[in-house]
């Protein structure tokens, strides 16, 4: 996790590195250049009139940050919070957004060439590419699509 805490690392050190997290049987990955930090679950304020996948808003050192439940966003059932449940804080396009995930796994290094571009099928629209590492499949999340309204 050393890479994650060190937000001021050179861009090159972050290149091609992805934070992985499990969701059901699958392993997902998110570009580490968008990841600011990983925190444990915090008290949240529910937002009236907001879509179902918006878990709430947390206070991150004085800054309100909306939090998205990734399970709900992918159309899955909400899971009980456990000790492993984490919030990944992203900074994407000047927007701070938290993602509630069941756990975080590891940081992997994958080159663009190793990935296969994923086609929009079956409404699975937040995945941009796929690759295989050590017999496991990793699905790469397209942040832009995940956070577009």
């Amino acid at each position: 996790m050393a890479y994650i805490d060190n937000g001021v690392e050179e861009q090159s050190a972050l290149k091609d590195r992805y934070l992985t997290f499990p969701l059901n049987e699958d392993m997902f990955a998110i570009d580490i250049k968008y990841v600011v930090e990983i925190i444990s679950v915090q008290p949240m304020t529910k937002v009236p009139n907001a879509p179902d996948f918006l878990e709430g808003v947390i206070n991150l050192r004085g800054k309100p940050v909306p939090v998205v439940n990734v399970r709900k966003k992918f159309g899955l059932e909400r899971a009980e919070y456990t000790l492993k449940t984490s919030i990944i804080i992203l900074d994407y396009n000047d927007m701070s957004v938290g993602l509630v995930v069941d756990a975080v796994n590891d940081v992997v290094k994958v080159n663009e060439e190793q990935m296969t571009v994923y086609k929009d099928t079956d409404g699975n629209k937040y995945i941009k590419s796929i690759t295989k590492i050590n017999e496991g499949v990793i699905l790469f999340i397209d942040c832009e699509k995940l956070l577009s309204v």
Binding site: T45, N49, N59
Partner: protein, 658 residues
Amino acid sequence: MGLENRDPIMDTFIFETNQLLEQLEDIMLQVEQAGDISEEHINEIFRAMHTIKGSAAMMEFDNISTVAHRIEDLFFKIRENNSVGDAFSRVCDIVFEGTDFIKSQMAKIESGEAADESADSLVAKISELLGEMNGAPVEASKETIKDENEDTGFSGIKVLVRFEPDCKMENVRAFSLINELSKHCQNIDSKPRELFEDPTSSDVIAKDGLELYIQTELSRDKLEKILLKQMCVESVSIQSMEAGEKNAPSQNKNDTSAQGKQSSAPAKTVVSKQSLINVNVDKLDALLDFVGEIVIAQSMVIQNPELKGLNLPNFYKSAEQLEKLTKELQDVAMAIRMIPIASAFHKMNRIVRDMSKTLNKDVELVIKGEETEVDKTIIDSLSDPLMHLVRNCMDHGVETPEERVKSGKPSKAKVMLRAYNNGNNVIVTVSDDGKGLDRDKILRKAIEKNLLPSDAQNIPDQKIYECILLPGFSTKEQVTEFSGRGVGMDVVKQNIESIGGSISINSKPGEGTVFTIKIPLTLAIIDGMNIAVGGMSFFIPVASVQEAFRCKTEDIARDPYGKEMISLRGRYYDVIRLHRKLGINTEIENLEDGILLVVENNENTVCLFIDEILGEQQVVIKPLPKYLQSLLGAKSGISGCTILGDGTIGFIINTNEL
């Protein structure tokens, strides 16, 4: 602290130059109004251009420095002739053109673009004018400057630097020396002035030494040290000059023993400085953020659940004292951000001037209440709306002088800007004494564009007038350079609403139009009423709640469509159930069981139904996170959020958006 990573020197350059440009424009407008340039004004313009030239050259913006240089030349000539003669209006136009050019370049620099637009045509224009005034080739001006730089009304220090004999390239040595010196001193002038353009400069320096006229706060010893450290410098002699002493250099030329005077001269410049400092707005924002955090932390302590039920009279006494102090701290932090609205008003002078000329209208801009203070961020977002409104007045409101005389009005029209405080709001009005709005024409157009229903004949005039603030509305048949495209006025409404303000229009045919803008004094901290709905708590600005009451069954009326109304002192008000609007389930469904708040809702007064009132406290408004804003859309009723005593987030309700 969120400050941009721009070079601080660049920041200062941008700030100073912009300030000088504003000053210049003000002077020029005064000059133009007076119809003549006084000697004082000439000097001020000369000085401003000189500073711009110098700092632009230092920052290597050659185009800016060239323009400033030529205008400086021009004013040098004017000063020499002691009059502008018949070229007055051309001089004014050229200075305006010059400031516009520099402004446009500055805007580019500020946004990080390359400011490399060519100034050739402008420079040619100035040179031509200069040539005419000289009655001689333009080149002459350079000569005069070289001979006359003693006459700059200069106060400061004169330094004579001699380079080692045979050091060669004296002009280059002089240049690097001046460059080094410019890091420590302001307003450096040298003799000879043109180091590179003038082929004889090296010889002159070798023979007579390099004369420098500088203003600095450095001590004499330090200055000497800096100068002696430079390459090939053989000797340095420093003399001070009395402030305002006109022919100082020539008087002091051989006075090398005037050492006793030095220490007093630099001190003088320090004293004459105002006790004002320029602070980056980001720092003020940070300060206010911190004060906000303190307010939050304070309520975390005082309303700590662990204190519940304890008998702590001394604690609460101290807490009260702390609350008082933080309130004062907050007021001060707020007051620092308040600046007079004058800066926004004065920008309009220029627009009125330019448009008067182009549209052939004779208009005077009257400004009242320019000392009214408003939060800096509000002023920034007020500039654009003001500009559009003034343009609208000039273009659509005010008639031509002939028309005005025909209808029995003075031929000179008035556009008035006015600002004053009204409770927690600032009212800004933009008015003209022109022909007023054409109600029927606007109505026709509004119906044509489907902005109003076709049977809208009987709606109040104000509503009709407000149509001109809707997107895509323009009654002007012809699109002009300034307005009529139908964009602009809708931006006005948007901008004003984005800072929590409102705008209304009043007009009388033949007498004029008044735009009234109401804006909050400050945006950052408000008194909030803490209310509960279905187990969630929200804040409503206390200022927007007129009263709160419980209703009786007999006061409730329902129409067949399910609309609920409540009678209060003989009047019926629509009921808005907050829990339904926000999609929250609550146990309190009966109107009799909850509380009703009388609030404004899109210009109607309505009763807002809530579960209960929890209390009142100061809340620090934070804008909604971007992502949340786009998820919720514009009319969610939630306009901002705040951090509560227990560290969680609370939402602020805007009753106008329900």
